[in-house]
Symmetry: C2
Subunit: 425 residues, 2 copies
């Protein structure tokens, strides 16, 4: 059997996990999967990483030396980000190498071009680890669920914010929840990508492309983060029978694909409601399969390494057995995207207003003018000077809701920025 | 492109679902998956089914006519059971046909021989639909999670009993819960396979074989059903913070593989606890990926058809692109099975005893003699004549627990059969 020679760029925690799995399972893969996988080159900016992994003999400081090593059949890119990583992946494909990557950023922004390049050369570009860590959601959408017309993909795909929302529900203000997540290593020093929803947006862009067979990129995802959510909002949601999660949503509708990331109230009976801590889950509805959900750790060395190795085995089998079937083809449907203004959902609005007569009437009139029907209103006294109005609406167009809010703001009755959380049934 | 010709045996609800998907998605599969799938023959005992599906022109009353049709490349077996279905699958493989089946019974009893026959002839035998309906658990274990050493597979794989347990928790006696499930079409007229745990046992035998790469069959699964569970037990469990589920469990232990099906108390925070109604879920722990869970409808025409078509596409791609990689190989590890007596877990025991002094001491002494440590004891008055003792133990060997129960029974203090539920932490 011809060996499959692998070059690895990036020897951080995920890279280290991959090295260990390939070492421990070499004989299993040979015997049970029919592939002889050999790690023949590895690159990192730190020689110490290679030394610690016992692979100093194949160490390079320059990723291009791995790519252009004529022995290397498959390049694993674990550098991350869109800078040098994109150059590595592009160069590897141009050099005729198969690629396995965990990089959501390049797949959500340049995925189509990369897959087109790969496809035109008959090469694989595998990216299971780019979404949901070790959760095999890419494989499920590409293979097992292929007989379905997918209606919805809804994910909790960012563990950091899922952890923080639980702590805010415990009563911690946002800033304290963030500081705690940073101390525990769940959030980075610059938490922007997580808390503003950009990480989740990249992942739903990738999932939308696969699930609906249409071309979308990160920039097209409507994105709101969790920075304005308070313990009050989560407590009120809880009292109404809802959990609040940062959801990454892609829905097929007659008018086009809805694609959005924002905090969402969802009924506690929904399977996504009980996904706690840093765990991830992706809920998929297909016309044949009905409701399914895939749950697991969304980050960490082990889960990502598990996904990378799963991809590598598939690529290695295709190489070993000379399988020329089209590896992946998508974007053949060009579906319209629905503008966020046309999305129809229910809303939770918390308005901080002066504590005086007539304010409820003023605000309620603004809803009526835009045809936004009110489902419930709760008023809670604030500090004596101000009060909190919590509205929950019936289903309404986002555009009408925004016009309502603009009218309320223009009337000058808001003493703080309003909080808006969409409500899913 | 050479077409892939399919013969379908069994035109019930699942077969009908497959026919519809193949018709609706033919162009998608051609364009995006690179396969030209054509249904060229179908068999059923009822011509009316073929007429209703608009495929009377390819109808046969005899399954063997489908198998021996020289045009047919792939046979889909949707007859079920171990009788004629096993003969069809065997005959199809012997005739050199690839096979896709939804049949758990033949895979759990004769799977090894069938897979060996298929392997020796270089044919695929695909069976995703045999476990968990449309949940892609077989694909995950065979492909995406292959870099893991699997430690545990724990499933709620029987929707009928999961529904019934919820209704028993609502206060319905077992017989009423069963009657309701039968009325709703969730349970069959003869419910034995579901309520005695045999259906779940077949599924965990298949999952064990794949997850641990070892040969096991249905008969080796220790199996208890739900027929003795009462509303009282579920209420007590609930008050202690546990949900009760019929779990199908396979654990890797240093002494061998534990494989068992029985009602189990599990903490409400466990992901499996919130799997309600007729839904299924399979919880998998791997050394790299950590905890994962796969959730979805475990039965029904749509989910099963989704899984069958997912398998069919893979088989068709392998055929079209002449891929000769080993399709599936397992059983290369011959792991010992751990006898049920050596399983170590916690236990809930409910004892119905005469309401008189000294009974607690008598029963507690039996625990002490066998070295089974008591975690808690609750005594509830019964009808004045009898009382209920509810013991929860610390971890103990099943053998010691059984000896304890035997001693209590021998002492003559039981006025009804004891209820034992294993407790998972």
């Amino acid at each position: 059997m011809k060996p499959v020679n692998v070059g690895l760029i990036g020897l951080g925690t995920v890279g280290g996990g991959v090295v260990r799995i390939l070492k421990e399972h070499h004989e299993d893969f040979l015997r049970d999967q029919g592939v002889d996988i050999r790690l023949v080159a590895a690159a990192s900016t730190s020689r110490e990483q290679a030394v610690a992994l016992g692979i100093e003999d194949i160490y390079h400081s320059d990723g291009y030396e791995v790519i252009h090593n004529p022995e290397v059949d498959v390049v694993i890119e674990l550098v991350g980000g869109t800078g040098i990583a994109l150059k590595f992946v592009t160069a590897a494909l141009e050099a005729g190498k198969r690629v396995v990557t965990a990089n959501k950023a390049i797949m959500a922004t340049a995925g189509h071009q990369l897959l087109e390049t790969a496809g035109s050369k008959g090469l694989e570009l595998a990216f299971e680890a780019s979404v949901g860590g070790g959760i095999p959601i890419i494989g499920a959408l590409r293979n097992s669920l292929i007989g379905n017309r997918i209606e919805s993909v809804i994910g909790i795909v960012n563990g950091t914010t899922n952890y923080m929302l639980a702590r805010i529900l415990d009563g911690l203000p946002y800033a304290e929840a963030l500081a705690e997540a940073q101390q525990l290593g769940f959030a980075e020093a610059d938490p922007t990508a997580d808390v503003e929803g950009h990480d989740a947006a990249a992942k739903i862009a990738i999932l939308t492309t696969l699930a609906f067979n249409t071309e979308v990129v990160l920039e097209q995802v409507y994105t709101e983060g969790i920075t304005r959510v308070t313990p009050t909002d989560l407590a009120v949601a809880s009292s109404l029978g809802y959990a609040v999660k940062l959801l990454a949503i892609a829905n097929r509708t007659p008018e086009g694909i809805e694609m959005r990331v924002h905090p969402t109230m969802l009924p506690v009976a929904h399977p996504l409601s009980s996904v706690n801590g840093v765990m991830n889950a992706i809920y998929v509805v297909g016309d044949a399969v009905g409701e399914t959900m895939f749950y697991g750790a969304g980050a960490g060395a082990g889960p990502a390494a598990s996904a990378v190795v799963g991809d590598l085995i598939e690529v290695a089998q295709r190489l070993t057995y000379n399988n020329r079937r089209p590896y992946i083809r998508f974007g053949t449907e060009q579906l319209p995207l629905k503008p966020i203004e046309d999305v129809i959902t229910r809303y939770y609005l918390r308005l901080n207003v002066p504590d005086r007569a007539g304010i409820v009437a003023t605000t309620a009139a603004a809803f009526a003018e835009q045809g936004v029907s009110i489902s419930s209103l709760q008023q809670a006294a604030g500090d004596g000077q101000t009060a909190e109005l919590v509205y929950v609406t019936h289903s309404a167009r986002e555009g009408a809701l925004r016009a309502t809010l603009a009218a309320i703001e223009a009337s000058g009755v808001l003493v703080a920025e309003p909080v808006v959380i969409r409500v899913m049934e």
